[in-house]
């Protein structure tokens, strides 16, 4: 505020807004001099217009009601008490009285309630809890009494049975003829009614009650007639019964209309959310379209490739024929050289296979023209290698068994010490390009290293260190280490090995899906997002709950396997070797 406040009372407040974030000093009235100006915003006082710097106080009561005599009396009394210190007079708003009822409460409300120790949880509805919906009135009572006086006690219709029948008639009519009261449909016949005695669980009619079906039906029909065929059970007007919707709107008895389906609250935040979603959807659709476009181009390329291949084949065939007819007996060199380079580009589009090209045998055409001598030497090499590998494996198996003595393996993916030598059958020719394969998921299963148990903590050190097997011949280090406990296996690249035609072993590189999320940029994440199952329960630990081992493991537990504290399995200390990828063993690549 500039300058001293003018003498003109409220004017100085006008420019000054009260900031709700500004700390206000709290003073006791007794501590301050009386010259502090009052922010008097009393309703209806002349000063209120001077105070425009403060938000206007809205009482929140409709202003017409606010003027009401009794409310004003109370407000004024309260204000007098709060400001002038007047003793708060006992003023109150008069309300119609509530008085004690003369009904015999205990008969109507039996004292059955037992409070449970825990908080009540309850979901049954009123309909679930109130039995047969029809409740007989005084008139029904008279009818029933008259009806029963003519009968033997065993032949009498009870109130429950009567209500069952009435409910059934009422509900059947309501279901079959919802507009019975307005469209003059003939009343349903007793036969039609009887068909529905068992239709609805809630309106089941007992066998015994059915004896009275006809009498009660006649009574019901008469009552309906008296009631202009309207329901005998008092009903709320909740539905738009006839077409007069306009009239409906102003009928104060019509209540609880259904909101139309779209009852979304329109808020700015929600709008923005929706816009974002739509944008994202559009982007994804465009990306999908682009992908499809690329796929289409690729397929065109393949088609062209096929056509060219076919042409080449035909040309070759004709060359061969030509050679035959001309009796040229040179080797088929020109045929092969033309063909070999073709193979590579054909594989190129598949990025995932790119790495495999290296493991492919370049010199192994399918043609039968391969020299026989080569095959023989190949077998020898393989046999030789097999022997070495088997020997080394057996050694490992033995040591594994030694380590495992007195231990039971209860980890999820149990270590198997034994595997067949055939598994190791490898191609000989790939050695110059064969990388030191790492991180095979399957390797984990084949780890000869036992998992450290809790007991083994003390001599953990040497077990944890990777056991490096130097293959004397190949100089490829094969490391056996227990997997890192901190890093999920699924995150490491691994390979699927399959045996192809002719006994070739093919390794398919499999990129784990979780790795993408971490390493690739958003665009790529987007691209792969639909490769997963619904993302609702995307677990970040990368454990595939559908994996066969998982199933086996769980079923093992389910079948009464002795319980082990699951924590115990997890408490295996992490491997001390450094480097996540480096510590993965390489058995498949062993040679």
């Amino acid at each position: 505020m500039r300058g001293a406040a003018g003498p003109a009372g409220g004017s100085r407040f006008r420019a000054r807004k009260l900031n709700t974030k500004t700390a206000l000093t709290i003073l006791r009235e007794s501590d301050v001099a009386g010259d502090i100006a009052e922010h008097d915003t009393h309703i209806g006082t002349e000063r209120s217009d001077a105070i425009t710097s403060l938000p206007k106080v809205e009482s929140g009561v409709e202003s017409k009601e606010e003027r009401e005599h009794h409310l004003q009396a109370v407000i004024n009394a309260a204000r007098a008490a709060a400001t002038a210190g007047a003793n708060a007079a006992q003023v109150s708003i008069p309300t119609p009285d509530a008085v004690a009822s003369s009904i015999s409460y205990d008969k109507l409300y039996p004292p059955h309630f037992r409070q449970p120790h825990t908080y009540i949880r309850f979901s049954s509805t009123v309909e679930d809890s109130t039995g047969v919906p029809y409740c007989m009135n005084a008139e029904d009572d008279i009818f029933l009494k008259a009806f029963n006086t003519k009968r033997q006690p065993v032949q009498q219709c009870s109130e429950d049975e009567f209500e069952q029948l009435m409910s059934s008639y009422e509900e059947t009519t309501a279901a079959r003829q919802p507009f019975a009261a307005v469209d003059n449909t003939p009343v349903l016949s007793l036969e039609e009614m009887e068909l529905c005695f068992e239709e609805h669980e809630r309106f089941l009619v007992d066998e015994r009650a059915r004896k009275f079906a006809k009498d009660v039906y006649e009574y019901w029909k008469a009552e309906r007639g008296k009631n202009l065929n309207k329901s005998l059970m008092p009903k709320l007007k909740t539905l738009k019964m006839d077409s007069g919707q306009e009239a409906d709107d102003s009928d104060p008895y019509v209540c609880f209309r259904r909101r139309e389906v779209r009852q979304v609250r329109k808020t700015r935040g929600r709008d923005a959310q929706v816009v974002e979603k739509l944008k994202k959807l559009r982007k994804e659709l465009e990306e999908a379209r682009h992908l499809l476009h690329l796929v289409k181009q690729r397929e065109y390329g393949r088609k062209e490739d096929l056509e060219l291949s076919r042409t080449i084949f035909e040309q070759r065939a004709s060359v061969r024929d030509m050679k035959r007819t001309l009796d040229i007996r040179d080797d088929d060199e020109d045929l092969i050289t033309q063909r070999t380079p073709k193979r590579r580009p054909q594989d190129m589009p598949n990025a995932a296979n790119r790495g495999l090209n290296q493991t492919r045998l370049p010199g192994r055409p399918d043609s039968v023209s391969a020299p026989e001598a080569d095959l023989i030497s190949f077998r020898e090499v393989v046999a030789q290698r097999d022997r070495e590998v088997t020997k080394s494996i057996n050694g490992n198996v033995l040591s594994h068994e030694r380590w495992n003595r007195d231990f039971i393996d209860r980890t999820e993916q149990q270590l198997r010490a034994v595997f067949s030598p055939e598994d190791l059958l490898m191609d000989s020719d790939s050695e110059e390009v064969m990388p030191a394969f790492v991180g095979v998921k399957a390797e984990y299963i084949q780890q000869p290293t036992p998992p450290a148990s809790v007991i083994a903590d003390s001599n953990d050190e040497d077990e944890a260190s990777p056991i490096v097997r130097e293959d004397a011949n190949e100089k490829i280090p094969v490391r056996f280490a227990r997997p890192s406990e901190q890093k999920s296996f699924a995150r490491e690249p691994h390979y699927r090995r399959r045996t192809a035609r002719g006994g070739r072993v093919v390794l398919d590189r499999r990129m784990p899906r979780m790795a993408f999320k971490e390493n690739l940029n958003d665009r790529l994440v987007d691209r792969f997002k639909y490769d997963q199952d619904d993302g609702d329960d995307s677990s970040d630990d990368g454990v595939d709950i559908y994996s066969a081992t998982g199933f086996a493991f769980r079923s093992q537990w389910a079948s009464g396997h002795p319980r082990v504290d699951p924590q115990a399995q997890r408490r295996v200390p992490p491997a001390t070797t450094a480097g996540g990828d480096g510590q993965s063993g390489n058995a498949a690549g062993a040679r």
Binding site: R16, A98, G131, M136, K237, P252, Y253
Partner: protein, 503 residues
């Protein structure tokens, strides 16, 4: 708030009031006469006339008295020695309309000359008192063309919760819509909602309050029996029309089903197994329990509850269903079960940040401190949610008083807890009250002052004394306090699809 702009009334004031003497025979609905009420004469409007036991009885609304004091009176209480004010002559189309209505609502057929559905002019015409004349509007003004229904148009309050002062809005707080409809074309800004717009607003906002024309002015039920009590209804509630003939409507205390007669009620009691509100108990202490009920899952029960509370809440609307609301019901317990004492409803998702839609302490439990517990509980929930809350407007007169008392107590306690300074937001956060409500309270208590070029909060002596007296009283009477740690509750989350598609 009595200051209002009269400019909109100018056109109607021109129409002269018809005054004259009347006899019992010439009295008709719409007539305003002086009526004896508690020993004094008060101007009252005749809303309905009915022949009872061969004699006419008159349903009257006293000017400047709340509608809950409207009543049926004998002709002898009407002072015919004074001139009465005649209603404006009815337009022909209006007669058609009311005839149409009457045929629709059979109940009315025996109530001669009943005019339940006549359009409501909120502000009574030509009242003599100066305050009233300020806001006076006239319902006889021309109907803006268009649909017939238009004449039933709504009177809307513009709920101005804006912090920015808009004094000119005040004038629009209440506008007779017929006036408004006529003026609508000329008046671009601030024009009130049309009825259609208002219903649309109801539909999208899930608001539970509504204008008064929706509601019939004449109370339709005579007396309610519930639990240990008999209660007189205060306002109209759309119970089945058959009930209007009943002298005593019975309500089952636990399932809240209603019956026009004792026999069906006793039959129902023989079958009813509910012993507490049908939902989860979320709070329990030695005195009360709170239950949370989802309007969508417990549609019948919540409808029953709304019908019941409509008897005591003038501004509550039952136009739309209960689905978008949660109902927090307070009960006391004994060997018979958990007796409903009061409740508040709350939107599952309130765009305006309301933490209470409707709040009611049943009349048989009023003036026992339960209202404060209900309000307190609504703020305890807001605190648990980490939100600031405020009750939906308009408040009822009793609601306003209850809230003001609660706010005063809360704010004063915060100011007296030893702190030497506070900003409004701190107070607001500590109490889960909106800053507006905090300011409202401070201003009301005259504690917001201006000193040495800055605002200060001055805790006045009278407020302290008042609080001390109150504490004394509490000590003697033993005041019940809710304990937030006994609340076992997580704010319910409703997915977008469940809100959109009602799943």
């Amino acid at each position: 708030m009595v200051h209002r702009d009269e400019s909109h009334d100018a056109s109607e004031v021109a129409e002269p009031l018809e005054k004259g003497f009347a006899t019992l025979e010439t009295l008709r609905t719409g007539v305003k006469a002086m009526v004896e009420k508690q020993g004094e004469k008060r101007k009252a409007e005749i809303l309905s006339i009915m022949i009872r036991k061969g004699r006419p009885t008159y349903y009257v609304h006293y000017e400047d008295f709340n509608k809950r004091l409207d009543e049926w009176i004998e002709g002898s209480r009407i002072d015919l020695s004074q001139e009465v004010e005649w209603p404006a002559p009815e337009k022909p189309d209006k007669k058609d309309k009311s005839k149409d209505k009457t045929s629709k609502t059979d109940v009315l057929k025996d109530k001669s000359n009943s005019n339940l559905k006549r359009p409501r002019s909120l502000i009574d015409r030509a009242s003599g008192t100066p305050e009233a004349s300020a806001g006076k509007t006239q319902s006889r003004t021309l109907r803006a063309g268009g649909k017939e229904n238009r004449e039933e148009l709504a009177v809307i309050t513009t709920e101005d919760m804006d912090a920015t002062p808009q004094p000119e809005d005040e004038s629009m707080d209440i506008v007779d819509v017929q006036t408004a409809a006529a003026a609508a074309k000329a008046l671009a800004p601030n024009e009130p909602y049309s009825r259609e717009e208002e219903i649309e607003k109801l539909r999208t906002s899930g608001s539970m309050t509504q204008n008064q024309t929706e509601i019939s002015r004449v109370r339709n039920l005579t007396k309610m029996q519930m639990g240990h009590h008999e209660i007189e209804p205060w306002y109209f509630s759309p119970y089945p029309q058959e009930f209007t003939d009943s002298d005593l409507v019975y309500i089952c205390e636990f399932c809240l089903e209603s019956f026009p007669d004792f026999k069906p009620f006793s039959r129902h009691r023989a079958k009813c197994t509910l012993l507490h509100p049908p939902g989860n108990e979320i709070y329990r202490d030695d005195k009360v329990s709170f239950f949370e009920i989802d309007g969508r899952r417990q549609r019948t029960w919540c409808r029953n509850l709304c019908l019941l509370s409509k008897l005591f809440l003038d501004h509550k609307t039952l136009y739309y269903d209960v689905d978008p609301f949660l109902f927090y019901c307070m009960t006391t317990r004994d060997e018979y079960g958990c007796h409903l004492v009061g409740y508040f409803s709350k939107e599952k998702e309130s765009a305006e940040g309301y933490n209470v839609a409707c709040i009611l302490n049943l009349p048989q439990y009023q003036r026992q401190g339960f209202g404060r517990l209900l309000i307190d509980f609504s703020y305890i929930l807001s605190k648990r949610e980490g939100k600031l809350g405020s009750p939906e407007k308009p408040l009822s007169d009793l609601g306003l008083l209850a809230y003001r008392a609660y706010w005063q107590e809360t704010i004063v306690d915060l100011l007296l807890d030893g702190r030497t300074e506070a900003n409004v937001e701190e107070l607001s956060t500590a109490a889960a009250m909106t800053t507006n409500d905090v300011l409202h309270t401070l201003q009301n208590l005259n504690m917001l002052r201006f000193s040495k070029n800055q605002h200060v909060i001055v805790v006045t002596d009278v407020v302290i004394q008042q609080r001390e007296r109150q504490r004394e009283k509490e000590k003697i009477k033993g005041k019940h306090h809710l304990r937030p740690e006994l609340l076992i509750w997580k704010p319910p989350v409703f997915t977008a699809s469940s809100r959109t598609w009602n799943w």
